[in-house]
Symmetry: C2
Subunit: 195 residues, 2 copies
DNA sequence: TCTTATTCATACACTGTGTATGTATTATCA
DNA sequence: TGATAATACATACACAGTGTATGAATAAGA
């Protein structure tokens, strides 16, 4: 295979990342061999180890990419809300729906935690951090009762992730999603200063 | 090595389970080789594959054992509470503290989810199921607002697990634990019928 | 154009899983 | 009790997968 321009080379990295997202979300990180993965991208392991160091390094970059995309998508939703509290709630709902997507559920919520570490290890921190900032705002505006925003963000983030698994488990269309959102709203209303 | 009584044989299984709990929680499931594990138990892989089928089978049994123990410990706490709501809250607090224990955090919350599947796959279901029953009671007693108890149990269970990671991350003694419990109580009060 | 740095492929060494096989001990039943 | 079947392990092997070392081809810079 003849390599021409500089762009072709940078494309290699992007191709590997895209293939990894696809294969990881289909078969999972542990069940994916780097031979198969690179073959699907019409490359060899040489390219992969050159660009990412090792298998874990590839996963780290995949997680970073997905996390950044999620954060972007969530920002859009928050920005179009009528007020801070409404934006916060809608962001939670949106996160719950996004967590149903196979790619996010398998790579971010399942494999990344086990392979990369416990509490969102540097990567996948965008989303939690964004939520923490939102909470801080709400506390300053005296909408939400004063509390540690990191603790609260962790609690909410975790609840959404676990609920997403439960929703995805069921095959009853949107029923579980609606029930999840309803239960979530019960929890969230506890945060309000004015009940 | 000469094998004598029937009890000696049943002990083999127990020894392997105990060793697995120890080694899995120290190094993690993926980083543990079955050669090392069995050697630590003064056995060989033959014994392991005979009793548990494969590596994953061993993890399943380990998870079952730990989950049952957790549920037992939590039952004690719930039973000594003054009323149902108090018992529920104390159970949540207790779960949060238990989730800080390295063995539970590493094996149940990290590795088991990735290896065994998304939403607590049959095993590790005791705890969530117990919580669901508690919630159902509270709803029937008109203490908690009517909602889907499975959804709510998932949300709470997930929030506790994620918060536990955040707490364990910090090295500030009990500070994060207390902040976590405070934030949790904010969320939980939203469930009450009478605010 | 010559040199150096990148980019990737190929080949190899090593680790780890799972399975097949063999052996010793225990249970079953005549 | 002795013979047979079943169980409980150990040993040996095949194979897949990771990571590394090496080398070739291309691009970048002087």
């Amino acid at each position: 295979m003849v390599r021409r321009t500089r762009a072709d080379m940078e494309e290699t990295r992007a191709t590997l990342l895209a293939t990894a997202r696809k294969v990881f979300s289909e078969r999972g990180y542990a069940n994916t061999s780097m031979d198969d993965l690179t073959a699907q991208a019409s490359l060899t392991r040489g390219a992969l180890y050159h660009h990412f160091g090792d298998k874990k390094g590839l996963l780290v970059e995949v997680v970073k990419q997905i996390d950044a995309e999620m954060d972007q998508r969530l920002q859009l939703i928050t920005n179009t809300a009528k007020d801070a509290w409404d934006g916060f709630r809608r962001r939670c709902h949106a996160y719950l729906e996004m967590a149903l997507e196979p790619e996010i559920q398998r790579i971010i919520l399942r494999d990344a935690r086990s392979v990369l570490g416990g509490a969102s290890p540097d990567s996948q921190h965008y989303c939690v951090e964004s939520m923490r900032l939102l909470i801080d705002n709400l506390i300053q505006q005296d909408v939400v009762t004063k509390t540690n925003s990191q603790a609260l963000a962790s609690l909410i983030y975790g609840s959404l992730a676990e609920a997403a698994f439960w929703i995805a488990e069921g095959d009853d269309g949107n029923e579980r999603l609606e029930q999840g959102i309803a239960a979530l709203d019960l929890l969230l209303r506890g945060l309000l200063v004015k009940q």
